[in-house]
């Protein structure tokens, strides 16, 4: 038995307003042949990652669809966490000097966790590669189907780390990746692409009355009647937070009331991020138009919701890797977005259709100017963005992809 997590019950029918009754019926039909299928989702952490957020929505919804679906976290300790972090970085393309000792630690935890797999399951879905070696240590792995759902961009993964992991992934029945662009040329096992998704019913996306939006903004010192640019992102150098500030700063003369809010979803972890936080903190101290808010212990989902709804323009000045799904959260709220051409951002913001893709600081400044000046265009992008997310990035689409894969695995038994 692994570590348990607190989950809530969810009713799929509650999504019919967002996704349509027909979609819900289709999902129910797809789930029928695999009713009662025992599915275990295994991950390294229960919180604070995009993976955890998706599981938080998808596991209760798959349960409501009649599957026997659970989510558990592997047993770890500080030494494993250290290796897992290094692995995450190496797979993301940040060079890590990998040692035999790290491999040994990694494998010893895989072996230990394999012994904890005592309940019977039909399918085990391993989320992200860190726990992927568990299969190699399970007594009778063939008794269940094994799926690796990798939420990372592996395109620049460090060779030695990837190759030793690849060996353990090879016997898997399927590997799920988020995007064609995130693959390595030597992917093992049968491949599926399942892009991530947002939950329209999460507290981050629920509708909020205007007066609540206004009041909350005021409590954070923001004037709801002046233009507001918002960026939600991790606190890392790649998010180019200072760049976002500069781009808005260049528009102070034209839009004297302009305010910019930077919402940091993670604490600064490494020296480069800490330096970036420090710079930003100093800048905001000197410039009353810049607001820095950290999603530490107090700033929560509803606050992000408020700030996104209130934004005249939503920015994503940069991104280290991956999708940056908070842009889909903003598009769902019909906000016009300006994003860098990185990771999964251009799949969400189609340039000139659901927003603007910009590269240099000048392009960003120009794009913000355009959207602040031309409200009609901004609204049009917002409408298009909502439709685009409804078609491609809602949790119901994610569930459909999952049900199809699970059906296939079930049939191939």
């Amino acid at each position: 038995m692994y570590g348990t997590l607190a989950l809530s019950h969810r009713a799929l029918d509650d999504l019919s307003d967002s996704a349509g009754v027909r979609t819900i019926e289709e999902l129910r039909a797809l789930a029928r042949p695999i009713e009662g299928l025992r599915v275990l989702n295994l991950s390294v952490t229960g919180f604070g990652t995009g993976t955890a957020e998706l599981l938080n929505s998808s596991v209760p919804l798959l349960t409501d669809l009649g599957l026997d679906c659970s989510w558990q976290v592997v047993r770890t300790s500080e030494e494993f966490a250290h290796v897992a972090r290094a692995m995450y970085q190496a797979l993301g393309g940040v060079y890590v000097p990998w040692t035999q000792e790290m491999t040994d630690t990694w494998l010893s935890y895989a072996a230990m966790n394999a012994d904890l797999l005592t309940e019977p399951f039909d399918v085990v879905i391993v989320h992200d590669p860190q726990p992927s070696a568990i299969r190699s240590f399970v007594a009778d792995p063939g008794a269940m189907k094994w799926v690796l759902h990798c939420h990372l961009d592996l395109s620049t993964a460090q060779d030695d780390v990837w190759l030793q992991m690849r060996e353990h992934i090879e016997p898997y029945d399927a590997v799920i990746m988020e995007s064609e662009h995130f693959l390595r040329p030597d992917m093992p096992a049968p491949m599926r692409i399942v892009p991530p998704a947002i939950d329209p019913n999460s507290p981050r996306n629920m509708p909020l009355p205007d007066d609540v939006v206004r009041t909350v903004l005021e409590r954070y010192g923001i004037d709801p009647d002046r233009p507001l640019v918002v960026q939600v992102s991790p606190c890392d150098a790649a998010s180019d937070l200072m760049g976002a500030v500069e781009c808005c700063g260049a528009l102070y003369d034209e839009f004297p009331g302009l305010q910019i809010a930077l919402i940091l979803m993670t604490e600064p972890h490494d020296p480069a991020s800490r330096q970036c936080y420090e710079q930003l903190a100093r800048r905001s101290a000197d410039d009353p138009r810049v607001f820095v808010l950290s999603m530490g212990d107090e700033f929560g989902n509803v606050e992000i919701n408020v700030f996104q709804r209130a934004a005249d323009v939503v920015l994503q000045k940069g991104l280290r890797k991956g999708y940056g799904m908070w842009i889909s959260d903003a598009l769902w709220k019909r906000r016009p977005c300006v994003v860098a051409p990185v990771g999964g951002l251009p799949e969400q913001v189609i340039d000139g259709e659901t927003g603007i893709v910009a590269d240099s600081n000048e392009e960003f400044t120009q794009a913000i100017r355009t959207l602040l000046r031309n409200r009609g265009l901004a609204e049009q992008y917002g409408e298009n963005g909502r439709r685009h997310v409804a078609q491609r990035f809602l949790i119901t689409r994610y569930l459909r992809d999952y049900l199809e894969i699970l059906n296939e695995l079930h049939r191939s038994r």
Binding site: A6, F47, S202, M206, P209, G300, V302, E303
Partner: protein, 432 residues
């Protein structure tokens, strides 16, 4: 000069509708003799932590009311902050090997900051132990100091490691005054400064305490799969043995027998680097088992101020089943939402709960369960206590009272006579 921290302006007038004319005027009267007085707050960090949160409200309010307040942070490198962090923990009861090297680092940085500090202020408030020796170095350098210097201690010194406190004490004794959170936190062997007690306070204008429309509250509950139509009890606390999360579940189970529709919401603030917290999180989840009417939520899945606000407002009864507690300000937060609180009789909680008036103080699990049940059975009684709680907090535990205490202390130190005219609340002024 030390690093200046700018703040967002705030206005006392925004608080007037909340606190009423009488209290607003009292503040103005207390500020009158202090008009133009220059106040400097000095602490270790501009970001994060309770002290920075208090200062970001206090400093602009002091300015708004006619004083001239600044907030500066001390200079220090990593080695200094490593030492002060350990020092902080040891003053709260953890063991720390207080080596000569550590002492030297602490003293050196304090000396450096003493050279940077501006001594022309009328009142200087030094927060917490990190910069506490700045004054003794200043005195050493120039023989005396200009303004009134106050050491504001936000931590509980009850179990302080003797060796560390003995080292710190002479530096604190150089101050004109020292302010503690609770009388219990004052060390008996501290002599010299006048001693005051100023308990913490909640900001009625913060997002955690702002009024929310019912439909938004219900909407938020539903998004977390909580049914607003069924009764709720709630506890907002870290998962650790001192907040007894397992005991809370037992209380709920007991009450659930008579109220099968009852839901329990537990909201924790979790730190990713706190293994004990994870351990207790899991124990709590296991104790909850597959009872889906128990909702275990945390900041790590994005539960923030507004969610806490909504859940506190929706609870029939708020529980704070602490077996050990600092001040436990979360009790005032819940009272301010008009809800009765059943809480452990420890730390600062008895200051916030008037037995039978704003809630109940309890010592055991069965007692807690019995009180919760009786409030569930008597919603009118619960509402009455809730209403009392709002008035009680309005009087005792709002930011404006905190401001008032500071003004009274400044008046007393400056000998303006205004503090005597507006006598300090009993218990505030411990000894001088």
């Amino acid at each position: 000069m030390l690093g200046s921290v700018p703040t967002t302006p705030k206005s006392l007038e925004d608080y007037r509708p909340v606190i009423g004319d009488e209290r607003a005027e009292e503040l103005r009267a207390l500020a009158e003799p202090l008009k133009g007085a220059r106040v400097l707050h000095v602490n270790a960090t501009a970001f994060g932590g309770g002290v920075a949160e208090i200062l970001s409200t206090m400093v602009p309010l002091l300015n708004d009311i006619g004083l001239n307040a600044d907030w500066q942070v001390i200079k220090g490198a990593e080695e200094f902050f490593n030492v002060t962090k350990a020092m902080h923990n040891s003053l709260q009861g953890m063991y720390y090997d207080w080596t000569p090297a550590a002492r030297e680092i602490w003293l050196n940085y304090n000396k450096l900051n003493a050279d940077l500090v501006d001594d022309s202020y009328d009142f200087v408030i030094i927060h917490d132990p990190q910069p506490a020796a700045v004054l003794s170095f200043l005195d050493e350098r120039q023989g005396s100091h200009h303004g009134k210097w106050v050491w504001r201690c936000h931590i509980d010194l009850t179990d302080a490691q003797v060796q560390v406190w003995d080292f710190l004490r002479p530096h604190v004794e150089a101050y004109d005054a020292a302010i503690f959170t609770l009388p219990d936190y004052v060390k008996d062997d501290l002599t010299g400064p006048s001693i005051f007690c100023v308990p913490p306070a909640i900001d009625p204008l913060s997002p955690k305490n702002v009024p929310l429309p019912q439909e938004t509250v219900d909407g938020i509950l539903r998004r977390y799969s909580v049914d607003p139509a069924r009764p709720i009890i709630a506890q907002v606390s870290r998962f650790d043995p001192w907040k007894d999360p397992l005991g809370v579940i037992d209380v709920y189970r007991h009450a659930k027998i008579e109220f099968p529709e009852l839901q329990l919401v537990m909201i924790a603030s979790m730190a990713s680097d706190d293994p004990e917290g994870w351990d207790w999180y899991e124990r709590t989840v296991r104790r909850a088992g597959e009872d889906w009417d128990i909702h275990i939520l945390s900041n790590l899945n994005g539960v923030g101020n507004i969610e806490v606000n909504a859940f506190q407002r929706s609870a029939r009864v708020v529980i704070q089943k602490s077996v050990r507690e600092g001040f436990g300000l979360v009790v005032s937060e819940a009272l301010w939402k008009g809800r009765p609180v059943v809480a452990g009789n420890v730390g600062g909680i008895p200051l916030q709960i008037i037995e039978g008036e704003t809630g109940h103080l309890v010592n055991t699990g069965p007692e807690c369960a019995e009180r919760v049940l009786s409030l569930l059975h008597n919603p009118d009684e619960a509402d009455r206590m809730g209403a009392n709680g709002v008035e009680f907090v309005r009087d005792r535990f709002l930011t404006t009272r905190y401001l008032r205490d500071y003004l009274a202390i400044f008046n007393q130190l400056a000998g303006t006579g205004a503090a005597q005219a507006q006598s300090l609340k009993p218990g505030l002024h411990v000894r001088s």
